[in-house]
Amino acid sequence: RCPFPQAIVWDEYLTGPFGLIAQYSLLKEHEVEKMFTLKPGRLPPADVKNIIFFVRPKLELMDIITDNGTQDRGQGSSGRGGHRGRSPQRDFHILFVPRRSLLCEQWLKEQGVLGSFIHREQYSLDLIPFDGDLLSMESESAFKECYLESDQTSLYHAAKGLMTLQALYGTIPQIFGKGDCARHVANMMIRMKREFPGSQNSIFPVFDTLLLLDRNVDLLTPLATQLTYEGLIDEIYGIQNTYVKLPPEKFAPKKQGEGGKDLPTEPKKLQLNSAEELYAEIRDKNFNAVGSVLSKKAKIISAAFEERHHAKTVGEIKQFVSQLPHMQAARSSLANHTSIAELIKDITTSEDFFDNLTVEQEFMSGIDTDKVNNYIEDCIAQKHPLIKILRLVCLQSVCNSGLKQKVLDHYKREILQTYGYEHILTLNNLEKAGLLKPQTGGRNNYPTIRKTLRLWMDDVNEQNPNDISYVYSGYAPLSVRLAQLLARPGWRSIEEVLKMLPGPHFEERQQLPTGLQKKRQHGENRVTLVFFLGGVTYAEIAALRFLSQMEDGGTEYVIATTKLINGTTWIKSLMEKLEPAPF
């Protein structure tokens, strides 16, 4: 359809999310000849007419684009006739994801390059499907923008995403929410609906309930170390857009004889999602329950391979051969996960991991949260990574509804003296976000919240869990507890605690035409969409999946979020960038 070959220059961050929705082959069909990543310096040569920049609306990226030599083009006038014959003149276009930004365009204008872009458009990527039951906006700074900068643009996008979702899967009759941002999103949805009355559609609703949850209602959960298999992979290696990069040593091909010496040096890249049977089974288990599953699988597979000796007739052999591809896939999947589990085990059995976890669990169960913790002091003295320290200190602060002024000052001083005074800016950000604060009014609400919501379970069964607390080996994530209690017996039973948590809680109803109202069969599950505003962890997702699978649960959950996070990436997003930009 397009007569001219084109090249795409990618903002590297975007390639991940886009990789989930479109393959290169698809782009190739649309005459995309070359792909580059955005970096400073001149653009590499390419025999193409159109160059399209796919970028997030960020000022530093605008600077790079300017540096790419876009300014040699005139004020865009010569481009119009340029298509006659193959002129070396190239046309530039810019596609902002997820949104055009006036700020960026103004910036480009000041650099004198705005006119070089024939088209400036936006590609609104609201919700990206990550798995069968998981959608993410992959907006890394949503939490920071909402709570540090009071910029609610990401909420606007969330509301827009929800409107799209409703256009596709039907109006959601019930909306519940907790937190200021949740209230905002619900308000925006109602407003959008009112402004476009036409959006009333005739699709039978898939979702019965929407639950909007603010991350700042539950600041505790992301700070704790996740203990599910997937959660640990993310904590240790970082999962990005369903891909993980692992150290290659454990994945060396084990061939007898030749070539055993030269180990691969490139990190091993694996995609992780529920399409892989084995991973779907173990991803949400507590890590301590993963080993037994793996060894059971190993036995089954080797037994299956053994069967070839019993295959006597041609028919039996044929049947065996037909199963081979499936068996081989299962075997390589098993080999991969055994290697990953080994890598993780090396870390989880280390002394420091144990000490760290012990302190976390003490805090979460309410022990010694009001004084300076020895382990934290030791970690500072040994200059452990700053983010680790901040995670622990923030956890202590949250579990104590704020630290005593003296304790807070002590930690601050130690951190600044050891890691540098400039971190005063980061500490300030954390205070502003409510993660680190002095106790006001001298009252600690956390014990009441913990007891009422049963956040700490002493007898946790990691192998055959009967409660969501298995995902943190004892701590039941507050956010998921709220979802669970909403389904049964309803929030009315916990009014008191809800009032202690920040922000309003509310309920809204969206009227459905009578024809679309559900007549529920007996025993049919309700479907709830839980939208985490400000990010969600893999452990929380695991807990919700656990609830979906409970036999008498009666509710299935689908999860949406602004970003998949863990404690480290979350704290990092709140830290002040101390290195000056590359320019």
């Binding site: 359809r1 397009c2 007569p3 084109q6 886009f18 929705i21 479109a22 782009l27 649309h30 995309v32 159109n50 399209i52 000022l59 865009g76 119009r80 298509h83 596609l95 055009r100 930004s101 006036l102 700020l103 400036r120 458009e121 609104s124 919700l127 990206i128 499907p129 039951d133 959608l135 923008e145 900068e149 009071s150 910029d151 609610q152 509301a159 409107m163 256009a167 596709l168 899967y169 925006m188 407003r191 402004e195 036409g198 005739s202 898939v206 003295a381 200059k383 601050k412 600044l416 003296q417 050891t418 540098g420 005074y421 400039e422 005063i424 800016l425 069969q521 479907v527 299935e556 101390l578």
Partner: protein
């Protein structure tokens, strides 16, 4: 409706004429309107020479957005609202075709539609960006009437905001009175779309006097936050500080100013800048940290100059043997202390580079000091210094070993620096907790300590078992044997 209409729609939505020509014409058109209005009301002339910046304009329908793909599929309805209506159903019909299990929602199949939709949008927007070449040959068609509506000046503030949210061209300059501007701002805030709020704020910033803008923003917190964020992003430091000062947010002024030091590469200039920060209205706690930051950098500059000279001169054996890996400038305090314990341990307290001076100046707690000094001296294998560091004299002149960090930590640090067993043993023996002591002693093969501890515990079994850990015929084995014999005798 007819295919022709649909094509026409598509043409006007995707061709680059929309992006450029429209803009220009919009300019003319609005200028025309502008002059007309100016004639009508001569009294109301404001300084709008910079109309580029005042006319906040978006061009083009947001490609790839829902509303855009909706328009693409909508057949020929010109009014955008109607288009949205019918096409929403259209858009969804593409998904209705997907398998949907009625009762047991197999949700995994649910989002394939979503992904598919995204991919389609991507292709559409790709084509839309570049297929203009063909369309250029199309004869200039009369513009659909509905498009003229874009330039109508009758949009209410609400409609203007709504149109801007959808990425349409909107001129803001017709909002002249303060009242109008504020209504516009409030509408933008109510829409929660940061892009639009920022757009309106830029317009207000250009057209309102600072005092008025500040005053009005003070009662509009959301808008205020957006402006602050905008100023921070664009680096309009002076304007930002003025604003914060006006709001009396003094601590924020201070922090914001302090942040600037990160952009100063030259150390001398950075030092000067930090000096200027000391007087800023930080909280009491932060003030002392900022003061420390300045003092530290001041020291580092002095030390650095000195040591660089020493190193290049090649006179000092220490610097020859252990060349410095990096400059000490801008390093944290504890790192600086380590450095000074490493290179300047014996210096008198009067020297800026001496550890004791640093300890005093910055009130470094004992624990921190011992830990750092220990690590530095152990690295140099100066076991004598280690011993002295952990030895205290009481007023009677007796000496006693004391470690504010606990002897198990001392052992750890020494071990990490490959201290010989004799040295290690001395401190393992001092670990108070018996179990920890045994663990450490066993781990680091301090046989003496293990044997003595078992002896004190009168644990024959463990002691006998330990015999296989020591060398045959060594003094250690003999010692075990003799203790075992003694124990037997005592038992009778």
């Amino acid at each position: 409706m007819s295919r022709v209409r649909a094509d026409e729609e598509e043409y006007w939505h995707s061709s680059k004429f929309r992006a450029f020509t429209f803009d220009d014409e919009d300019d003319e058109l609005s200028q025309l309107k502008e002059s007309k209005r100016a004639v009508n009301s001569l009294r109301d002339i404001v300084d709008d020479d910079d109309d580029d910046l005042e006319r906040v304009s978006w061009s083009g329908e947001p490609v790839g957005s829902i509303s855009w793909s909706i328009k693409e599929t909508a057949s020929g309805s010109t009014s955008s609202l109607d288009g949205r209506d019918s096409s929403l159903q259209k858009g969804s019909s593409s998904c209705a075709a997907l398998p949907k299990q009625a009762s047991s929602y197999s949700l995994s199949s649910l989002f394939k539609g979503e992904g598919f939709l995204c991919a389609t949008q991507l292709c559409l927007s790709l084509s839309a960006l570049t297929d203009t070449g063909v369309k250029n040959y199309a004869p200039e068609l009369r513009r659909p009437k509905a498009e003229y509506k874009d330039y109508s000046s009758d949009w209410s503030p609400k409609d203007t905001v709504r149109r801007m949210q959808r990425g349409k061209v909107c001129s803001l300059e017709r909002f002249r009175s303060l009242q109008d501007k504020l209504v516009l701002l409030d509408e933008a805030v109510a829409g929660h779309d940061g892009n639009v709020i920022t757009a309106v704020l830029i317009f207000l910033k250009r057209t309102l006097r600072r005092e008025i803008l500040f005053r009005e923003l003070e009662v509009r917190q959301v808008a205020l936050c957006h402006l602050i964020h905008f100023l921070r992003e664009t680096g309009e430091q002076k304007f930002l500080l003025d604003l914060l000062r006006f709001l009396d947010r003094t601590e924020e002024v201070a922090l914001s100013q302090y942040r600037e030091h990160l952009n100063i590469q030259d150390v001398e200039k950075r030092r000067e800048f930090l000096k200027g920060c000391i007087g800023l209205p930080f909280s009491a706690e932060d003030t002392s940290h900022i003061q420390d930051h300045y003092t530290l950098l001041e020291r580092q500059i002095i030390i650095e100059a000195n040591d660089r000279h020493l190193e290049t001169a090649g006179q000092s054996e220490l610097f020859r043997k252990y060349p410095r890996k990096a400059s000490i400038l801008n390093m944290p305090l504890v790192t600086t202390l380590f450095y000074s314990c490493f290179y300047h341990y014996t210096e008198a307290e009067g020297m800026f580079s001496s550890p004791t001076n640093l300890k005093k100046t910055f009130k470094i707690p004992d624990k921190q000091y011992v830990l750092t000094a220990l690590a530095a001296r152990a690295k140099l294998r100066a076991w004598g210094d280690v011993d002295a560091l952990l030895t205290t004299k009481n007023w009677l002149g007796y000496t006693k070993k004391k470690a504010p960090i606990g002897f198990h930590r001392v052992v750890e640090i020494l071990q990490r620096n490959n201290a010989p067993v004799q040295v290690l043993q001395e401190y393992v023996r001092l670990v108070e907790d018996v179990e920890t002591r045994l663990n450490l002693a066993t781990k680091y093969k301090c046989h003496d300590v293990v044997i003595e501890t078992y002896r004190d515990l009168k644990d024959r079994i463990q002691l006998t078992a330990y015999k296989c850990k020591v060398e045959r015929g060594s003094a250690d084995e003999e010692k075990i044997n003799s203790i075992l014999n003694n124990m037997v005798r005592n038992a009778y």
